[in-house]
Symmetry: C2
């Protein structure tokens, strides 16, 4: 019964109490804290214990039953299902999306069960309390009062024209000078990438990606039957020689790049490399898909030029802009800019994907931009993150063992590390979790998924004052792992590279 | 020349002058203002007349030529193409999405340029003034006050749990008894269909569809490289014998059906046929994708049973539920219910499509349902449409020539007609538009796109008091066409079937 006593429900968490309770009990079941055929507390008793309505418990038990985690005996009570274990091994960490995609996106979405008391270096998306809720709420209400039912009518597939206009102005500031026909509104960057895949890729078509990269994108390419070819990242960007070689051999449909504060490595391409890549792709007639998820968060880089701004004729780069990492991930809004040769294909792919992005949200975002709220929000986020960024740099230097290799990025939210030979990042991940520190193991970012000596720390979701404590814990665990390895006199984990 | 003098170009319109000019001339051609083989003004002359650069005119003429609307004679000039009529009937009013998808979805979205003073039988979506804007606005504000930033955080890919709960309750009322794991929230039915295509179809896989059908769905199947096989609709539903034959021959991945108030025909499958289809698909182990876009709007049918409710083990039917036609199209929210064998594939496909549907909108919809607003909205819509429906039945009977074949549906918003031999539905469409009545020509609903003797009238967007007047006009045009045909003594258009 003690497990149930320890369940804590938050009335102001923005999540129904019964959902919280259902999740808490599910967690207990999955963690093996409860035995098969064990009886759950009677409804009234648990309700009393947790100071909630009976209905809350009834609802929670009901969902657990529907999911096959518990069963009811008439007139007797509710019991843990005897076969929940099969269920949990299928599910792995209470998430269902595992293979191929990797749990990365689950971490990105905060769906990996990182409890609220953890120091969370795993997630690369901002915490909910950074979102400009009030301003956006005002924008929503302004739209509804102004546009009424029209806000809920079908929106043009290419996007709400006034929003497209402010976005064209917005990218003009970073020297992307294109006409409005080239801008397509998307329901988030993932959809943008998926639409590009749909518009360009057929079964067997080769695509070149960075290694490591964002596996959510790779999942979209794979879903079209594409052949994924990866090229290593060097300190100043992708290995251009190998890139040219592979372009020649494979003649890919496009290459998928994140040239500023790359995910997961935080690397920024040098200006020289950016120009070389443009030249190369022009020479070989290969499109570039540029995923710009974070170039706004530039702290120390002298040059966060996008490839798109170097694409003078707008005929080479498909530029995908996400608002998730710097604004609000749950908005599901972004945009892409495409060469004119691709307009029709992309519009068609968008249309068959979801007809259009929510008009209400597009209209609200337009007002948000027009009122200048975007700029002040970016400033606010920048300051908050810059402090975290500086704290990271200081503490990594101070507490992580010298044997760890890393590159200090010039901006963004991600830091990428390579462990000494023989130290497993999965082991590090598991031990960290046990000590209440969450990080992202490297295998989530490789197409082959079996990397075991890299990890990523992100400052996006961590509180600045926790950074030092978190890095101390990670440093300590790595030191222990190195000691173990030395004392055993042999490697327990074989490194991949 | 006077038409060209009247062209007005805006320098600050956010659209290139040449695009504006191209569109203006195209409009003249489509409206029949210019004659076949008529010479366009010389480039310099037109440039001078409109006060633009020569290049603007060159570019505009160039696009017109690319589109086959004009042709060039070396050393002489540019002329209106003699066969532009074929072109315009294909395209219907200057829209960009043509091939495969058909302009249907443009009509559905109101993107076909139907002016506001037209009697609009073309669109099958409700008018904006029917949307429950105030109630939904309240729900949105309630969510924002309660959940704050959480409303904009990533939502679980499968959907917001409390929303899934109320949706499970909602379909329970129509005897769809499934557990909550089987319910996936989607960003509108089009996305649902697209996700199913992604989860199930690989290049070359056969899919069976009704003929006629919703071409937006077919576009998604085609995008996966699927092979589309169609089966005719009879008065009581799909031709089951032909269906069985084709299932045997092609062994399709699934069949795509709208068994209640089918789009575009309005036909409802008999109960007997529904059961036969379930048996057939069980026997041959074929999934059914049931697109339920409108079963709520039952006026006179004794049985609007869904196939899903007959799928007792939840292992055969993938049920896709749209809210667009009865609630608010621009919300981009719906759900699907899938057999457990498909959970993972569908969740994975959803995730790689757009990660998740907007959490804010999901949360607001949950409140909207929980407060009982949904039911009262459906009642309101039902009453409004029932009056329109009855008016349609009355006036069709009264004003359309007897030679026209049609089936009176038992509910929904669509009526489907077959013209007498030799009368062209494209011609009917064009003449109706000129007399301020919009309808949907049949070619939009066939996979082969060259049907020319069906048309659809929908009551969704038309004002009830305009129905009589609209039907009178259509009846009059058809009568004229029949008179012409008889007086010419021969058929000007060869019917397809």
């Amino acid at each position: 019964m003690k497990f149930f006593e320890n369940i804590i429900l938050y009335k102001d968490k923005g999540e129904h109490l019964y959902v919280q309770l259902y999740k808490a009990i599910k967690k207990l079941i999955i963690a093996g804290k409860l035995n098969k055929n064990e009886k759950l507390p009677p409804i009234r008793k648990l309700a009393q214990m947790l100071d909630v309505n009976n209905v809350t418990v009834v609802n929670a038990y009901h969902i657990l039953e529907q999911e096959g985690l518990v069963y009811k005996k008439m007139g007797s009570g509710t019991y843990i299902s005897p076969d929940f274990l099969t269920y949990t091994s299928e599910e792995i960490e209470s998430s269902k999306i595992i293979e191929g995609l990797g749990s990365l996106s689950l971490i990105e979405q905060g769906q990996i069960q990182i409890s609220s008391n953890m120091i969370n270096f795993a997630s690369a998306t901002p915490k909910a309390d950074l979102f400009p809720v009030e301003d956006f709420k005002n924008a929503l209400n302004e739209v509804l009062d102004r546009d009424k039912g029209n806000a809920f009518d079908y929106q043009e597939s290419q996007g709400y024209l006034p929003l497209r206009e402010v976005l064209i102005q917005y990218i003009r500031e970073s020297n992307i000078l294109v006409n409005i026909n080239s801008l397509q509104v998307i329901s988030g960057a993932q959809q943008g990438i998926d639409i590009i895949a749909k518009a360009l890729l057929n079964y067997g078509d080769p695509v070149i990606v960075e290694s490591p990269s964002y596996t959510g994108a790779i999942a979209s390419f794979r879903s079209r039957g594409a052949k994924i070819i990866d090229v290593d990242l060097l300190e100043d960007g992708i290995d251009v020689d190998d890139l040219e070689r592979k372009i020649r051999i494979f003649q890919p449909k496009f290459i998928y790049l994140m040239p500023n504060f790359q995910n997961p490595t935080g690397i920024s391409y040098s200006r020289d490399k950016k120009e070389k890549i443009i030249d190369l792709c022009r020479q070989y007639n290969v499109y570039i898909v540029e995923d710009d998820y974070l170039s706004d968060l530039n702290f120390y880089s002298k040059d966060n030029t996008t490839l798109k701004s170097l694409d003078e004729n707008n005929d080479l780069v498909i530029y995908v802009k996400s608002f998730s990492k710097i604004f609000m991930p749950g908005l599901r809004l972004g945009f892409l800019v495409a060469p004119s040769t691709l307009y029709d294909n992309i519009l068609f792919a968008k249309h068959s994907s979801d007809i259009s992005t929510s008009g209400l949200l597009q209209r609200a975002l337009e007002i948000y931009f027009s009122r200048g709220k975007w700029k002040s929000h970016i400033k606010y986020i920048e300051e908050k993150y810059r402090n975290g960024f500086d704290a990271m740099v200081r503490n990594i230097e101070k507490y992580l063992p010298k044997e760890i290799e890393y590159i200090v990025p010039n901006g963004g939210v991600n830091f990428w590390f390579r462990l000494p030979k023989g130290i497993s990042s999965k082991e590090l991940y598991e031990r960290s979790i046990r000590r209440n520190v969450a990080l992202a193991p490297g295998n989530l970012f490789f197409t082959h998924q079996n990397d075991d000596h890299h990890f990523r720390l992100s400052i996006a979701s961590v509180d600045n004052h926790e950074i030092e404590q978190g890095i101390i814990v990670i440093g300590d665990i790595i030191n222990n792992l190195m000691d173990n390895k030395n004392s055993f006199g042999k490697e327990r984990y074989r490194p991949i590279l």
